[in-house]
């Protein structure tokens, strides 16, 4: 009984949790609710993955209404992969979020917003309805604006406001594109859109629809040069919110982009003529180099990590642009691995901020002496960002390099390696300061992070190493997802 309703339970758990957390008005109770809700979500997501692997595509009709009228949740290898990622990261983040530095009366709201954000992100991932995806996009975005604004720094408000404006533009573009699609096909269900697109003769409107949707989602996923909202948003959001956003929010947007590019537009012959692939390669390359270079010059570690996220998003979109099985596997695998490593990194810097009150690199000299575990997790994450062999980052970059070779773009492989060298610079700077400098005042007075912060952080760091040595499970998932995406395209 429960098994058949898994897709909707996945959304309901965080949604109801959010309501309860809001009603509880008590920080600890709200945290407990959030923890239970996210634990349920993680369980459901794993169960869902297991069912998809066993039975194939799951179609769930909300309230029993058939598509066109009703909303369909459609889960295949691609969404199951994303959903598991969100479920697990959300659960670990909730453990981490126990130590909150917010004012007491705001804590319950904070957990409410975290749960709402998770619900929204999961909703985007499971729904098979273009407009429903927009609704969930708005749920997650609205809660994200609030989360960022809850940051202690006054600049958080500006960052939240900027993201609000940019996010709204993105959502509007997206909804315009969906509206055009509706005009052409008369349906909002993605499956039906694909079916009916085959019969469409004029592709003009379709191309415009694609343009709006791609740019709209591009804003959401911080595709270069639409990235400017992201660094400040991540830097000034509360630490645990930054973990959640960095690990999941942009990833879901990338999923949505992949879904539209491959499943929807890939199905139509004419759209293939638009050189989206080469545009996307160009933008991805720009993302791999320019924001990474900016990361080298940042002093705030959170901003270093945020800029590095922009660069890493470039690798993921590069995988999408390559559009061959190996390259796409690499892109999706990097999506997965990057969520884990960046989660670990943001958790580590969150713990450092909790103990020292600063994320400024020049004030954190020698923090490795007093917070060795935290600094160790940050180092592992940093090595994975570079793509050092033995970390998960290497495996996904390796697939990307193979993918570019397969596509006959050997120079791209060289650029992938060359851009990783920029990561050596910004990670090297952090490592040098936190380990090799004599401890500064902040470091001498700090003590190791509390257990509930260390546990999820070390799990993520450990998994980053583990998936670097034995990549079979994530690579299998990513490869299945890539095949699902490309299989429809053919």
């Amino acid at each position: 009984m429960i098994a058949t309703h898994l897709p909707v339970l996945l959304i309901l758990a965080p949604l109801l949790g959010a309501v309860l957390a809001a009603l509880s008005r008590n920080g600890f109770a709200a945290w407990l609710i959030a923890l239970v809700a996210s634990a349920l979500t993680a369980t459901f997501s794993l169960a869902l993955l297991w069912r998809v692997q066993a039975e194939g595509v799951i179609s769930y009709r909300l309230g029993g209404w058939a598509p066109e009228l009703g909303i369909e949740y459609r889960i295949d290898a691609v969404n199951a992969f994303i959903v598991v990622l969100i479920g697990i990261v959300a659960f670990l983040t909730m453990i981490f979020a126990r130590r909150s530095v917010l004012a007491p009366e705001r804590i319950a709201w904070f957990y409410t917003m975290m749960l709402l954000c998770v619900a929204g992100l999961l909703g985007i991932s499971v729904t098979g309805d273009a407009f429903n995806a927009f609704v969930f996009l708005e749920i997650s975005s609205l809660s994200t604006y609030t989360l960022i604004a809850l940051g202690r720094d006054r600049r958080a408000l500006v960052a939240a406001y900027q993201y609000l404006i940019v996010g709204t533009i993105g959502a509007t573009f997206y909804v315009i594109g969906v509206g055009l699609l509706y005009l052409i096909t008369g349906t909002l269900n993605l499956g039906l859109i694909v079916e009916r697109l085959g019969a469409i003769e004029s592709s003009r409107a379709l191309i415009v629809a694609e343009a709006f949707i791609v740019v709209g989602i591009g804003l959401k996923l911080a595709l270069f040069p639409l990235h400017a909202w992201l660094p400040n948003a991540y830097a000034y959001a509360p630490s645990s919110a930054a973990v959640l956003l960095a690990s999941t929010a942009t990833k879901v947007a990338i999923y949505l982009l992949a879904r539209f590019l491959f499943t929807v537009f890939g199905g139509h012959v004419d759209v293939g003529q638009v050189p989206l692939g080469s545009i996307l390669i160009g933008l991805s390359l720009a993302a791999m180099f320019i924001p990474s270079a900016a990361a080298v010059f940042q002093n705030d570690i959170k901003r270093v990590l945020a800029f590095s996220s922009l660069g890493q998003i470039g690798y993921i979109t590069l995988g999408l642009a390559l559009a061959n099985p190996t390259g796409l596997t690499g892109g999706l695998l990097h999506l997965f691995n990057h969520a884990l490593m960046k989660g670990a990194a943001f958790m580590a810097i969150g713990a450092i901020v909790l103990r020292t009150g600063t994320a400024k690199l020049d004030e954190l000299s020698g923090i490795g002496r007093t917070m060795p575990w935290t600094a160790g997790a940050l180092t592992v994450a940093g090595l994975a960002l570079i793509g050092v062999p033995g970390t998960s980052g290497f495996v996904s970059k390796y697939y990307l390099i193979l993918g570019s070779m397969e596509a006959g773009l050997g120079w791209l492989a060289i650029l992938i390696v060359a851009s990783s060298l920029i990561a050596v610079l910004y990670v090297g700077r952090i490592v040098e300061v936190i380990w090799f400098r004599e401890p500064a005042l902040a470091a001498r007075e700090a003590s190791e992070a509390p257990g509930e912060l260390l546990l999820p952080m070390l799990i993520l760091a450990g998994v980053t190493i583990y998936f670097g040595l034995d990549a079979e499970w994530p690579a299998g998932l990513a490869s299945a997802a890539a095949q699902a995406l490309l299989g429809v395209a053919r």
Partner: protein, 559 residues
Amino acid sequence: MTETFGPLSPALILILSGLLLPLLRGPLRNALFLFAPVAALVLVWALPLEPGLAIDWLGLHLVPLASDNMSRIFGTAFGIAAIAGALYGVSQPSVTEKAAALVYAGAAQGIAFAGDLVTLFVFWEILAIGSTLVIWSNGNTRAGLRYALIHVLGGVLFFAGISAEISASGSVAMHAMRADTIGRWLMLSGILVNAGALPLSAWVADAYPKASWSGAVFLSAFTTKAAVLVLIRLFPGEPALLWIGLAMAIYGLIYALLENDIRKLLSYSIVGQVGFMVVAVGIGSPLALAAAALHALAHILYKSLLMMAAGSILRSTGETRLTELGGLFRVMPFTAVAMLVGGFSLAAMPLTAGFISKSAIFAALAEDQARFYWFALMAISTGSVLYIALKLPWFALFGQRRSDVAVEPTGSMKAAMGGLCALIVALGCFPAWLESLAPEIVGVPILTVDHILFQWLMLIAASCIFIGLFALLRPSVGSTLDVDWLWRELPRQVIPFSNGIRDRFRKPADRGLSQAKQGIALFSQAFQSRLRMAGNWRTGEVAAWATALLAIYVLIAAL
């Protein structure tokens, strides 16, 4: 048998110890710093001579630990260099340098024992990072950056070559090859960058003297010799190596003869001596390869010793320029003896290790009837006597003293130098030891009367010329132009030059220019602050970009 050691390789011990080192304190740190290289050397000999555990990873057949005779020779050399270097530098206060030195030594061992191209590349990069940190830890960031960039270039070339090779052959195994495809040329040039070959050889003499008194000892031992090993494994008998090596030997000789700074002189001499090894690799016969390996071993020993002596002088007097030194024999006798022993070993004086390895190289050239290279290298070898066994001691150790000795070398420094002196002489007196290490050289006549006499005639002839042409050999303060002028000086020259041009055209267009100048200044200011403040865009800019992207996209679609 190998299974008992599992993945425990000399490389791993050293690298892990290097990473652990910053966490330790005081005596414990020094104990680990001294112990790790010893453990690594023990393991070099404990490993059986067979490929170790293979790991299938991402569809690649990796052999991270494969021991054979060649890896044992180089492993021994790297191991002794690490032990001696650690003993010598144990009183060095910089933690970064010590940690980086261990990682660096570990990477060299990793290269010696790598059984496939991927493992090789991984250690290759660790080697570059470790050595950069050793240089960096002494504070000269610009030189460290130049060094890093050269090695990034070498690494990228090497990587491109390796990926081409793997995608062409489908295998990551290491095997002998000729530079006959673009991919292999890329690989060869990547290796040669690390070996210090022309035209980029300038990095050696630029970077090594920037390290601390103890750091330079490590630097002189690993990078170039690891590159020689890789050449032995991948490109034995490659004809191009003959003239490349000869060019290196000539370059090293001429620049060392002209140099005033002891540690720069020794760095040029590294390039020259590696040139001998590269020529031997180019010959490619079993004897030649063994000779190259033994010369690498001997060179690591005597060059470490010479760098130690130079470091000791630097530490005691704060000076390494020959024009500012002199008469040190009386005040630093121990260091002086070390410098003489090292120098005579490089000059292939009989009864030193260098004599055996150089004899082996010439025997290999003779066996292959490489007449031209035999005579050319013999001439260069005679020339190198001039700078290492005559000029260096003459101006640094004898004559009038020009600088004060502030601190005595520590006991551990003396122990390291003494140990290396003893080893060099012992290896030279008992050629059987080196013969057992590389059985290929057993037939080479070494300690025969005519051979020893030959070498003595050479040495004395060179001494005659040294005295006779003394006026031409006097060191002078200055620097010799090298290819690194292109990236060190040219930018500085071009900017005033272009300023000069601007001045000439200034009057007619003064106004416009000053406006443009302001504009450029504003722009560059804006650009700099932009990079720092990147991401602090105005919301409108983001929106504009989004619109622009949308417009471009639709436009392309419409056309």
